[in-house]
Structure formats: C-alpha cells, structure tokens
C-alpha cells in the first residue's frame, strides 16, 4: 500500500466513524426530546430544563461532526490519484491541502467531543441512563474517528515533507524549494488563491489530479500553446461548499498575482449562443471581482466575426480580440472588463 493509499484508508475509516457518531447523536437527541416531554408532563421542570440543555449540547456536537465529515471528504477528494507524473512542487502542494483539511477535521472533531462531554454530564446529573449510554457510544465512535484522523494527518504531513525533499523531479532538474505545511495559501492552492508564485512559478498546465474536464483541458492546452510562458492551475472545488467557482487561475510570470479565468466551450455556432456563453462566463468571474473568460468555438466552427457579433459592445476593447491568447481564426478570448 502506498503512503497515499494509507492516508486515504485512514481518512475513510475516520469518515465512517464520524458517520456512526452522528447517527448515535441523532438517536440521543430523539431520546432527550422524549424525556423532556415526559418530564414536563409530570411537572418535573428541573429535568425538563436539563433535557432541553442536553438537546442544545447534542445539536452543537452534531454541527461540529458535520463540519468534520465535510473536511474529511474534502481531504479525501484532494487525494485523488494523479493522471500524470507530477512534480515535487505539485505533490507537496496537494498534500499541504490534504493536511490542512485533515487538521480542520480534527479541530471540528475536538469541538464535537467537548459538546458530547457536556451532554454526558447533563445526562448523568439527570439520571438518564439510557441517554448517557447513547452519548457514551457516540463519544466512543468519535474517539475512534479522531485516532484515525491523527494517523492520516501525521502520514500526510510526512508524505508532504518527503515530496518536498525530492527536489529534482522537474524537467531539466527542478531544484527549487517546495512548499511546506506553513506555505502561504496561494502557494499551497495556486489555483484557488491569488498571489505571486515566485520561485514556485513554472510555465505550463498543472493539473496532476485531473480536475479539468476534457473540454477545459483542451482550452488550457490551447492557451498554453499560444502563451508558453503562462502557468495554468485548475481551481479545486470543495464538495462540502456550494460556492461559485470559476475554472482556472492563470499567471504570466513569477510576480503575477493570477487572473481568475472561466472556460466555456460552445455547443452551437449561433450569435445567441456566443452572447449567452459570454454572459455565463462573465457572471462567474465577476462574482470573484473580475477575471477573464475564454470561449472555445473551435469545435462548432465559430469564427472571429461570429464572436465579435455576439459580444456586447461594453466588453469589446482592443485587447479582448487581439490579446496574446487570441490565436486561430476559430477560437477567441474575451473579457468583460479589466
């Protein structure tokens, strides 16, 4: 089993234990609600109040368990097997992302444990034995999850450190330093966070985990062929977050902060489709402040003339249609504004 396989196995085990804990917390909430109703019916206001507090503590624990599960899921997703030979920089950056997510999961699991501790005390003080057993079972599952998370996080940090020590996996001998666990966010996640890559900058398309779809990769390769000095990274989308997220970050040199870029592929060679694709792409990048939209019309034969006719007047400027990414007569590059 490779190091990455071991991390995945431990992370998946942690996720299953978190699910068990969440299921038991759900049953404990139902039990506490039932006890509250029963106590109120008998006029035992103290017990009813304790069971109300019990439900609040359990709800807080459940929320933290959900956060932990989401973070583990994101960490597992970031471990997706590579589709090509990655550089040491890319492997280390990917593992830095995994470590960050597993650390976030551990933090959330710690908060869940605190909530369960409170819930257990309340159940004991109220002599609610069956409820205490349920909470204790949930705490056991959570303990198992935390152990597996610790193991996975430690292994991921070790793998990251080893990747950083490879040193010379790049074409022509890449001896530049690799990011560490304390690397700035834009180094650890160059596709998601704007910032200069400096000595980590490397031209080309960097997608060892295959985040780009086939259509997006075709656009990235087209851009890279026309602008060989550009560095293109996919933006990695967290399945646990329903956020707007364009496709890529493109930097033209080591000092470039990066331009958020949305890729669109035309399915129909009509003026209406050109207009709508530009609107779609522009909406994505404007949601992040600004950016570029690259529309690929090659597969349906859209010409530069079609593209010009489909572009709103406000978005046409000298460089939108004559920029460095605008090469062939059947592909075009457009941006809403700079």
């Amino acid at each position: 089993m490779s190091g990455t396989d071991g991390i995945r196995s431990d992370a998946e085990a942690a996720h299953r234990s978190l699910e068990d804990a969440a299921e038991r917390v759900g049953r404990a909430v139902a039990e506490a609600a039932e006890l509250e109703l029963s106590a109120a019916a008998h006029g035992w206001t103290g017990v009813a109040q304790a069971m109300s507090s019990e439900q609040e503590a359990l709800a807080a624990a459940a929320g933290s368990l959900g956060e932990a599960q989401a973070a583990v899921t994101a960490g597992i997703s970031a471990l997706t097997p590579v589709g090509e030979e990655p550089s040491s920089d890319e492997v280390a950056a990917r593992l830095a992302g995994v470590v960050a997510r597993l650390d976030a999961a551990l933090d959330a699991a710690g908060r869940a444990a605190e909530g369960l501790g409170t819930a257990l005390e309340l159940a004991a003080e109220s002599d609610a034995e069956s409820l205490a057993w349920l909470v204790d079972d949930a705490a056991d599952s959570l303990g198992t999850a935390r152990e597996a998370l610790e193991t996975a996080a430690t292994a991921a940090a070790a793998e990251q450190s080893a990747a950083g020590a490879w040193g010379t996996t790049g074409v022509g001998g890449d001896t530049r330093p690799s990011p560490s666990t304390t690397a700035p966010a834009h180094i650890a996640q160059p596709g998601n966070v704007r910032g200069p890559l400096g000595e980590h900058f490397r031209p080309g398309v960097h997608d060892p985990e295959g985040h780009f779809t086939e259509k997006e990769r075709a656009i990235a390769d087209w851009l890279s062929a026309r602008e060989p000095g550009a560095s293109i990274h996919p933006r990695i989308r967290d399945p646990a977050k329903h956020e707007k997220s364009p496709d890529a970050m493109i930097r033209s040199n080591p000092d470039d902060l990066g331009v958020i870029t949305e890729f669109k592929t035309m399915d129909r060679p009509t003026i209406g489709a050109v207009k709508d694709n530009l609107k779609l792409g522009t909406r994505q990048v404007v949601a992040h402040g600004n950016g570029h939209v690259v529309v690929d019309g090659r597969t349906v034969g859209v010409t530069q003339t079609d593209a010009r006719l489909g572009m709103p007047a406000s978005s046409v400027s000298d460089d939108t249609m004559a920029g460095p990414y605008l090469g062939g007569s059947r592909s075009f590059w457009a941006t809403d504004r700079h």
């Binding site: 399945p239 646990a240 329903h242 956020e243 009509t270 003026i271 209406g272 609107k279 779609l280 909406r283």
Partner: protein, 155 residues
C-alpha cells in the same frame, strides 16, 4: 463551476421571495453568496456528500427584444434558477439533479418553467395551459427549433 443548467421561471415574485418558496417546496436551504445573490441548495440525491443548487436571479440570458432569427425560448421569462453541483464537474449528475428540481418545481409550484442549458440545449418546458413537453435530444433553445418551443416562449 463551468457546467451549469438553468430553470427559467415566471413566478410573478422577486428573486428573494421566489428563492424562499423554492427552498420550501424542494426541501432546500437558503444561501446568501458573497456577491449578495440569494440561492438554494440541498444534498444531491445520488451523492449526499455533494450539493445541488444555485442562485435565483433576474433573467440575463436571451434578449427582451430580439432581432428576427435570434430569439430564444427563454426571452420571455423574468427569473432563472442557475444550477450547479459542488465539487468536481459531473455533467450527468448535474443533469439528473437539475431534472429532479424541474420535476418538483412544476409539480408543486405550478409556475411556467423551462429547463435548459444556456447556450446549448433545451430539455423540458411546462405551463398550466400546455402541460409538460420533454424535447428530443439535441433541441436548441434558439431560433432554429422555434417551432418546437414556441408554445412555451411567452408565458
């Protein structure tokens, strides 16, 4: 997020109120995005670790007053629910979940609605007078297939 599908609506309500009614009908949560747009989302039926949802916005697509030959089925709709999946792009899952949204919206809210992929495809439409039509694969939302979608163009 480059893959999206769209459900065009004519609810007669502003986006916020429409989003709240959609959330109630679909069992979804309300979300306020950083740019101020309001949206809804819920776990995907086929993969609960991911979520399906999107924003409810004024319809920016199509054209209020299109020139001849550049009409689209959604020109006459005032709102659009722009849908995407969290996580990695998966066009098949997105389509299945979007279709589920459309089915539930027309069954429960009875608003005129069109399910499409802007710039690419028209899937289904519903109105109280015409009922539901599922269009053949490859149907365009633009003028070249106008004869097919015309009955749903101006709800």
């Amino acid at each position: 997020m480059s893959e999206q599908e769209h459900i065009f609506l004519r609810s007669g309500l502003p986006p916020e109120e429409t989003a709240r009614k959609l959330a109630e009908a679909l069992g979804a949560s309300i979300i306020r995005h950083d740019d101020g747009e309001i949206g809804i989302h819920r776990p995907a039926a086929a993969d609960p670790l991911r979520s399906i949802g999107g924003v409810v916005i004024e319809n920016e697509y199509g054209d209020d007053d299109p020139v001849a030959g550049e009409e689209s089925v959604y020109d006459g709709y005032d709102l659009v629910l722009e849908l995407w999946l969290s996580g990695r792009t998966d066009e098949e899952l997105l389509h299945a979940e979007s279709r589920r949204f459309f089915d539930e919206i027309v069954a429960q809210l009875h608003w005129p609605a069109v399910h499409a992929k802007v710039g690419a495809a028209l899937y289904s439409a519903w109105s109280s007078s015409r009922g539901r039509t599922d269009f053949p694969p490859g149907t365009s939302p633009y003028a070249e297939t106008r004869a097919l979608w015309e009955p749903y163009a101006h709800p």
